[in-house]
Structure formats: structure tokens, C-alpha cells
């Protein structure tokens, strides 16, 4: 089965329903759709915005490589990953992953796999801007994100 794969990096926000509809158009054997949305948290009101930086070119290539691997591991009908860059306010979307399949477990697994690898392998970096006007600095990578990769190997 050849999965439909869509990868985008953009400054604009996206709409969940519109992305799912566009991705699944014509795929009548899809019975299960899992989406993951990553949102900017307010950090108890301390955060003014996140600034998302990426490595143009490599970011798209790397996400597509991860999606290709997910499509090889699970019988998905479609996969989509959209990552925003630039300034993102609390409550706004940062990332969207969609995985669809005939049955639900493949959709859940492919979406979780895509997110786990996207977090630790796709070249994006987050910087915090605080409400008091100061820079909160670059977000540190979490050991738990590296650990999350191990369950897939």
C-alpha cells in the first residue's frame, strides 16, 4: 500500500478539520484517523510567546524521512505533519500530525511514532519570550524525549 504523505512547514496557523478533510479526500477505505496537536502552553501565564526556528530544507527532508519510515512500519493510508515556525502565542498550534488507517491501532502507533521522532530528530528549536519582557532562553531538550524513541527500536 502506498500511503499519501503530506509534510509542511509554515508560519500560518492551520485548521484541524480542513487538514483532515484534505488529507483523506477520496480514501474510502480509511476507518480510523488519529491526530496529534501540539499547543503552546501558557506556563501559568508567564509566557508571552514561543519563537520557533528551523533548518530550512533539512527540516522538511527529515520529517518526510520519518513519515516514510512510519508508512513502512504500519499499514497507514495517509500521514501528514505540519510544523509552524516563527512567533507562536500561548494556546496556538505548534505542530499537527495526522495518521489514518483501515484500523485504529496502526493509526495510533504511526501518529505516536511520528511525534516521538519529530520531537528529537527534526531540526526545530524553541525560544521562550516572557510576559515581563525578558527572554526565557532556549528550551532545553528533555531526556524523556530521547527515552521515548527507544520503545520503537
Amino acid at each position: 500500500m502506498t500511503a499519501r504523505i503530506e509534510v509542511r512547514i509554515q508560519t500560518e496557523d492551520f485548521d484541524l478539520s480542513a487538514e483532515v478533510s484534505a488529507l483523506l479526500a477520496g480514501l474510502s477505505d480509511t476507518g480510523a484517523v488519529v491526530t496529534f496537536s501540539g499547543l503552546c502552553r501558557s506556563e501559568d501565564g508567564a509566557l508571552a510567546a514561543l519563537e520557533l526556528e528551523h533548518y530550512p530544507g533539512m527540516a522538511e527532508t527529515e520529517i518526510r524521512r520519518i513519515a516514510d519510515e512510519a508508512a513502512a512500519r504500519w499499514p497507514v493510508t495517509a500521514l501528514c505533519a505540519i510544523h509552524r515556525v516563527g512567533r507562536i502565542a500561548p494556546g496556538e498550534n505548534i505542530v499537527l500530525v495526522i495518521a489514518s488507517s483501515t484500523h485504529r491501532q496502526a493509526a495510533f502507533d504511526a501518529a505516536a511514532f511520528l511525534m516521538d521522532f519529530l520531537k528529537s530528530r527534526a531540526p526545530f528549536w524553541k525560544k521562550e519570550h516572557l510576559r515581563d519582557g525578558s527572554e526565557g532562553g532556549w528550551v532545553d531538550a528533555k531526556e524523556s524525549d530521547e527515552e521515548a524513541l527507544r520503545r520503537w527500536s
Binding site: 526556528e53 510544523h83 520531537k119 526545530f124 524553541k126
Partner: protein, 83 residues
């Protein structure tokens, strides 16, 4: 050689990218990190903990023991925090 920097590596080095002539004895990623660290205060600050720096050669993740042969573009950056 085209070098590109991201996130706090870019901020500490003080530029987003540059063209550098690498000495012949700089053969691996690790050689490059050690050599670059000696090129001034910005590089010294960016590469304080060279083992923490991630490197991509021609936009592919590379280990520190990999050779630079064939590299057209080398990127240095902190561990990724997207998603």
C-alpha cells in the same frame, strides 16, 4: 566550506552562516568542533561542551566520528526541541 549555525549556537557564534577554509588536518566532525572552538570568543562560548553539539552534513544528521569528506554544508546546532 559552508558552515551554518542554529539557535543558541548561532547566537553565541554571532552569525547564521559563513564560508571557512578548513585546515587539511580537520578530517572528522569532532576535529571540526575542536578546531572551531579555538577561532575566537564566540566559538569558544558556543562550543564550550562540544559533545552536546549536534551536527548535520549536507542536511543529514552525523555522528561526531564521521569524516567531513564530501561535505558541502555543515550545520551545528543544539539538541532539537520542536514538536
Amino acid at each position: 566550506m559552508k558552515l551554518i549555525y542554529f539557535a543558541w549556537v548561532r547566537e553565541r557564534v554571532g552569525k547564521a552562516e559563513e564560508e571557512l577554509d578548513l585546515p587539511a588536518e580537520v578530517r572528522t566532525v569532532r576535529d571540526l568542533l575542536v578546531w572551531l572552538k579555538g577561532q575566537g570568543d564566540g566559538y569558544e562560548a558556543a562550543l564550550e561542551h562540544p559533545e552536546a553539539i549536534r551536527v548535520a552534513i549536507n542536511q543529514e544528521h552525523s555522528r561526531h566520528d564521521e569524516p567531513l569528506a564530501g561535505a558541502r554544508e555543515i550545520a551545528l546546532f543544539p539538541p532539537m526541541t520542536g514538536g
